[in-house]
Symmetry: C2
Subunit: 256 residues, 2 copies
Amino acid sequence: MTAGESNGADELIGTEAPRDPESALARLAGRHAAGYRSVGVMAYDIIREAILDGTLPPGHKLRQETLAELIGVSRLPVRSALIQLESDGLVEFHDRRGAVVKSLSSEQAREVYQLRILLETEALRHSMADMTDQRLARLRELGRTADAKQEGGDFVDARTAFYAELYDAARLPIQWELIEQLRLKVGRYMLGWRLVGDDTHHHSHDELTDAVAAGDVEQAVALLRHHLEGVRDGVLDMLEAESLAKAAPTRRRSRS
Amino acid sequence: MTAGESNGADELIGTEAPRDPESALARLAGRHAAGYRSVGVMAYDIIREAILDGTLPPGHKLRQETLAELIGVSRLPVRSALIQLESDGLVEFHDRRGAVVKSLSSEQAREVYQLRILLETEALRHSMADMTDQRLARLRELGRTADAKQEGGDFVDARTAFYAELYDAARLPIQWELIEQLRLKVGRYMLGWRLVGDDTHHHSHDELTDAVAAGDVEQAVALLRHHLEGVRDGVLDMLEAESLAKAAPTRRRSRS
DNA sequence: CCCGAGATTTCTGGATCCAAGATGCAGACT
DNA sequence: AGTCTGCATCTTGGATCCAGAAATCTCGGG
């Protein structure tokens, strides 16, 4: 690609199809432009978001130089960010050959959801023991928001807010941290979930809130488990589709 | 026991009392001197080990310059190491004021062990479903080693090896990763555990191996849970003692 | 004698520069 | 003609250098 067109490309791309990571990441960088204490965490946020929303697909090579100039900083904060992302399990370092976006195998996805079910149902049990009306009201609100946003960019954020509120009553910060880690690992694939999810789950957050409000622990746990299993299956389908697409890649037509 | 005797207690804890982190860390650096692909991971290993064996106590300020020249490298790989250690939950960054060794509150310790019980008993159940004689033999060996080493530097390593072998049959790499994270958080306090641990636990690994060999899942799970609860109580006592010691600090003699 | 404001000093965070290793291509040899 | 080896280039990893912010120390005032 010629350098002269990259300026215009930024203008043109308004659709949600991040064809080339270059311009898409530049837009992300623009949104995150101001108000950061250190550019290191800014770089971290930008790259993390880019991985999570699919701008940087699994397997993508992450060249420090490119990322640095796209974000508008030096290579050093990029390196910091990549190190953090490695600890988060989102990228993978190959010894002297740089970092790539980690991809998730079906087995790993299965294990992640197995663990999420284990940890989140446990958190739910603890949380329901200390539920307050006030919290319940907030939960209701957040649940409706999460159910409403079946798609869109802040789709994942809405869910995160709901579960954060739900489990927060348990006052188990380390457990929540682990849950967040696990959610992060599958976050990139949750975006495509609505593509395969059926209507069964469309009100799951509200239903769950009902069970919590009623104090029916077993029902709530069952709903949560069922919900997670549903999402898991969706993610597995997504992974399946993706591996198929990789096996038979779409033909790319040469540009004019 | 009075706080004034805490000096003597330090003698008990270790063969060598790491009075000043300087020289102790320099020795550590010497042991790790050679055979690393990158000095960044070397710095990580050294600092991590220093935190885990108590050379760098909780609350200690980690000045990059000092660490760098002690290890014998530049500040940059030290920064990388600190970032990784932050993700591991071992150090904590204060915005523009550098990093300190994270300390563990009683509540956090309790939560860690609650989670370890949850995750490890689950791993044990899965593991026992796929146990082989070969693995059992190795387990027996490692268990005896772990039981034998009630003290010493590689005390934690022996236990890690045992549990790694025990849970490995389950083929749950992510779950093991989480368990390792949790063990890391309390690793620094496990060193002092034997001081308060009673004889009840001295053969716990061997007993556990027996139950696993017998295929008695519930018995094995009960033993594991009991063992972890015992360690937890020891760690809590240790934390209690440490907070007392902090409240009544050792008298400081003026330097020459 | 104590408290506060300012200056100094120290330390972190970022940028630029340098060296070492890996990849890929081209040429030569079998 | 195919393959192996050597060279050029690219990219990461590390070191030194620079700027900004925070803590401390000191001096002056109350």
